[in-house]
Amino acid sequence: MSTLIKTLDYHTAGEPLRIITSGLPEIPGDSMLAKRRYMADELDDYRKLLLREPRGHADMYGAVLTEAVSSNGDTGVLFLHNGGYSTMCGHAIIALVTAAIEQQSFAIVNPDAVRIDTPAGQVVAKAILAADGRVQEVSFLNVPSFVLEPEYSVQVDGRAVDMTIAYGGAFYAYIDAGVHGFELLPNEASRLVAFGQKIKTEVASHYQIKHPEGDADLNFLYGCIFVRPGEKAGHSRNACVFADGQLDRSPTGSGVSGRAAIHWSRGELQLGESLEIESIIGTRFRVRCAEATTVGGLPAIIPEVTGCASLTGTHQFVLDERDPLPKGFLLG
């Protein structure tokens, strides 16, 4: 393993993104899903080293820049979390585009259409620049998002948990927070994670998730999103428990995409309209219902997600050859 790895660290609406800019071996594969499989099989120790304690923590998130796999892509990206590899991540896209413009972490042809190849497909983003040239906010058109299962229910601890299952780059179960006694405040973090993990396990063992036209690698429930009315002017607040019990500090880019698909499917959101959705710490993303489309016969939308990111640091990580924790650790 290389012992010097450089990263650019950002946060998008409170959620960290550690962008690995150098120090990893090349990742072969002619699609981002193939690269994702390669990294999971051959280079997973790097994910553990950089995301887990002591260099990271249970809620760290990462991105690896790769060559683009499409003819017009500016970059490819893999998404890393505490349990493995995501297929699409909105907060990461926002930070990646900010880093590309402010720190030149990858070359872009056109700041109005930054083309990023992700395992879920190509995502096109645009940066809105402030007068001083810094990035004010980033919008991206997400992959087609749709409702897979309008009404589903599982039993957790002897009671029914009703949900809607939708896709916004990854599959989520959307659950009413109030019904289960949550206000979605930071001091509920550990209870939310425990409850979300139980729900996810139940859904995974009773429901076979299938993307109607995508790769089989997309067919899994990534997280649970608890939803309730928002504070102040926001439309709503949601909290996403994903991967191996991570709690998103941001409103979750792929999550709010699924939210927009749900509200559109119910006639509560029209084409061109937007929602402001806040996170468990009160940060916001805007999601707009940009276009209507279909996915394998299911009605779908192309959502546009907007948010902003800030640089938190530039890092050079080393692994001391005497360090007895070369893969880091999590308490579990």
């Binding site: 946060h11 959620e15 960290p16 002591p54 973090a189 800030s310 640091g313 890092h315 080393v318 360090d323």
Partner: protein, 338 residues
């Protein structure tokens, strides 16, 4: 006092047996005061934003801790150190000292008058750190702790979460520790997940503090049970015992815990299981080890006590330039989710 412009902080990060130590190398504030204790007060009054920016999310996390070096104000110390944590600025921190000494020696940030001995001025006073070097790197650091003693034996506390009554000893090693040893309703540390420890420990601590009073015989301002030490069987063949220390609202020490190991050795010495000169290798929840030693016997008030020392290691893992820009980032002061 708040910044109105972008700040950059150069840090060297290490971990002591799993616990992070972020040493601020440049960007730290100038502090007034004729001692590190006085400088600590100045820091807390005017520069606490630096602590929260570097320790809290998104730049740090719930377990982050660190330090800042200053010239010593005392002629008998080599260098001054200020400790910073998510909870505030501890006057003294064992794992922080081991990490700080390792970084300072390996990176040439401090010059000891006597090779192998770095004398630190901490806000709690003078601390002598003896270190061993190997190929230019620091292999381990040994600290001598304050007199530690067994305060109470066989205290009973309800623990319906484990299905009955727990019996615990309480010992002092810089903090008061309730030591939970294997018994009928708690067979071993391997039975508890990290989530169990975080869920059960604060309840047991609260019940103990409601039922008993824990006051240091020589310093009444040191009172109250703050830590729980769940004792268990060693996993590594060269460890004597394993433990998980719970403290704060929801923290489990990643290291074997210096003050906890001191308290545990005081308990074992009071029982006659350790005597001056004996080593005690203590293993953490994640398997990292400290080597404790009973340096001498002493007394604390009317209690028999020991002077313990703790030897541990730290390894550097990164160099980081942390940026904090109040104009750009609404979370420049950081946040915690708990």
């Amino acid at each position: 006092m708040q910044p109105n412009k972008a700040h950059e902080f150069d840090c060297i990060d290490a971990h002591t047996c799993g616990n992070p130590v972020r040493l601020l190398v440049s960007g730290g504030p100038e502090l007034q005061g004729d001692s590190m204790a006085a400088k600590r007060q100045h820091f807390l009054r005017d520069f606490d934003w630096i602590r929260t920016a570097l320790m809290f999310e998104p730049r740090g996390h719930a377990m982050m801790s660190g330090s800042i070096l200053y010239p010593s104000t005392r002629v008998d110390c080599d260098i001054g150190v200020l400790f910073i944590e998510t909870s505030g600025c501890l006057p003294m921190c064992g794992h922080g000292t081991i990490g700080t000494v390792t970084i300072a020696i390996e990176q040439g940030l401090a010059t000891p008058r006597e090779p192998g001995l770095l004398v630190l001025e901490t806000p709690a006073g003078k601390v002598e750190a003896r270190y061993q070097q190997e190929n230019g790197k620091v292999k381990s650091v040994r600290l001598t702790n304050i007199p530690s003693y067994l305060h109470a034996e066989g205290l009973e506390v309800d623990c319906p979460e484990l299905g009955g009554v727990l019996r615990v000893d309480v010992a002092y090693g810089g903090n008061f520790y309730a030591i939970v040893e294997p018994q009928a309703i708690y067979q071993d540390l391997s039975e508890l997940s990290a989530g169990d420890i975080i869920r059960i420990s604060p309840l047991v601590r609260e019940r103990l503090n409601q039922r008993y009073h824990f006051v240091h015989p020589q310093e009444r301002s040191i009172n109250g049970l703050s830590h729980l030490l769940w004792a268990g069987k060693a996993i590594k063949p060269d460890s004597h015992a394993r433990n998980a220390v719970f403290y704060g609202d929801q923290a489990i020490d990643r290291s074997p815990c210096g003050t906890g190991t001191s308290a545990r050795m005081a308990q074992l010495a009071a029982r006659g299981e350790l005597k001056p000169g004996d080593n005690f290798v203590h293993e953490s929840y994640i398997g990292s080890q400290f080597t404790g030693r009973v340096e001498a016997a002493t007394t604390v008030g009317d209690y028999k006590a020991i002077i313990p020392s703790i030897e541990g290691w730290a390894r550097i893992y990164g160099r980081n330039r942390i940026t904090v820009d109040p104009q750009d980032d609404p979370y420049w002061q950081g946040f915690l989710v708990s």
